[in-house]
Symmetry: C2
Subunit: 334 residues, 2 copies
Amino acid sequence: MTTLNHQFKLVARPEGNVKRSDFNYTSEPVRDPVEGEIVVKNLYISLDPAMRGWMNESKASYIPPVELGDVMRAIAVGQVVASKNPQFAVGDHVNGLLGVQEYAYSDGKGLMKVDPKLAPLPVYLGTLGMPGLTAYFGLLDVGKPKEGETVVVSGAAGAVGAVVGQIAKIKGARVVGIAGGADKCRYLVEELGFDAAIDYKNENVMDALKTHCPKGVDVYFDNVGGDILDAVLARLARGARIVICGAISQYNNTTPPKGPANYLSLLVNRASMTGIMVADYYPRAMEAMMAMGGWIAQGKLKTREDIDTGLENFPETFAKLFSGENNGKLVLKV
Amino acid sequence: MTTLNHQFKLVARPEGNVKRSDFNYTSEPVRDPVEGEIVVKNLYISLDPAMRGWMNESKASYIPPVELGDVMRAIAVGQVVASKNPQFAVGDHVNGLLGVQEYAYSDGKGLMKVDPKLAPLPVYLGTLGMPGLTAYFGLLDVGKPKEGETVVVSGAAGAVGAVVGQIAKIKGARVVGIAGGADKCRYLVEELGFDAAIDYKNENVMDALKTHCPKGVDVYFDNVGGDILDAVLARLARGARIVICGAISQYNNTTPPKGPANYLSLLVNRASMTGIMVADYYPRAMEAMMAMGGWIAQGKLKTREDIDTGLENFPETFAKLFSGENNGKLVLKV
């Protein structure tokens, strides 16, 4: 009996929201590894907003677009099922760019071994993975919150935002999260210990910022862009630092992104707006993993994953990121 | 015979371009100084883009708006003609917020004595004044150009931009100026030693940036905002620093300012955009004055003033800043 590898291949550049018809769902037999190669059975696939950018034919992006006809790029954790590479043994768990498919071939470069005894595998895609590192370094290296300062984070119930807010609390800041819906806002305040949450779907963000940030915003960690970025710009404190991590509100736009009309608030407030790319911090990943591992062990840093099941559901599950339906780090169990 | 003090008083919040009817041109007798006061005869009035913001009823600004009915705020250099303040003698030359008028009363706070033997008086309003300090600290403290890097400056033939470009050259950077018109561009390259100039009125700025900045832009000093800011954002080098000094293209807008649609280039390029306010650097003014004084003496830093004559021409002369008709630091000789 032949084992089949089901795969999602990108066949069209999505316009606006991603549709099932932008992909071919195909299968091919799994082959043996060649010399130096391993075969990984994917267990959990990470669904991240950045993937939307990888689907575009943009040369301006930080990594090349996924070519039409190629397996959709994604981070995943899996288990080595065959190895002709002395660095990896059958049974090892690995984390890396393994794609939206059941089996991946790799020469091992860029893969990191992970230990399922130290943390559940999906956590390596969230708090102990790319989103967690993004939060850790973006907040601490660029945002640099000081004790008593006010930190605002958007996409606050998402994989990056929830970690940003909790680390800011650990560092002694006052933390206000912006998220969509009463459930998420309750989660931020009651479960994660945020000082306040703003439900952008049901509240006027400008007014709510005025209420919850009476002295202005010292650090803003932006995952969403658009009108929320503009609202926070209008409430900056002197010397504020804005960390630009993403702009999920803009990724499905078919028109050019909306620039922040209030950017001259940077001038008035001697504030900065700085973009970050987590890849720049990979050489320092150990530092973040040790710190975050410690906080998780102490119960100071909570993780939450939203796990859908079934590779075949990839397009619909991915769409949840943009409608905001996911609660916590969105993962697809293969 | 009574000496009259002619004054421009703001009587309307300008909509769009400033009109003569936004002011009353009035006169009143000059009175004697009260105890602790001096009377200054204004000699040269500085016309700066920031003054446009002071005319608006905005609470978001960094200093309060000029109240309706008040003398229009402006920096000027003048000579003390009467003094009841022991720190100032009749005949002293002073520089400060003396207003659009022939005579000003002051308790001396915020005034700085200047020496006309060391530099012509109008230079204290430009290269050795607020614009020069803005250029010096904005470029060196925030832009931080390294030898061999590419520095782009907009409003390059203006009071701030010309100094930015020349200091960047002194620091060993490759310098590209953006200005309006062939004359200004020729001036930048032939007189000030810029490596290249882009005439935004007659060239496609995007294409020209590609030609003149083949490795991308490392430092961008922005005086204009709008489409030019967006064009430069699209050409950033990795780790670029944008200094937001002003946005003259937006100051006369009657609609909200245009935000930079390409701001996500900050993310891709791990770049920053930081607003500066020259007032923050006043305590370090001596450092800049000594450095720039030295460069002027060595012929490395050239100054140019565009001097109109006649206080009564204030509204029309001020408008030249926004049409780009001025060549160098715009000054009104009283």
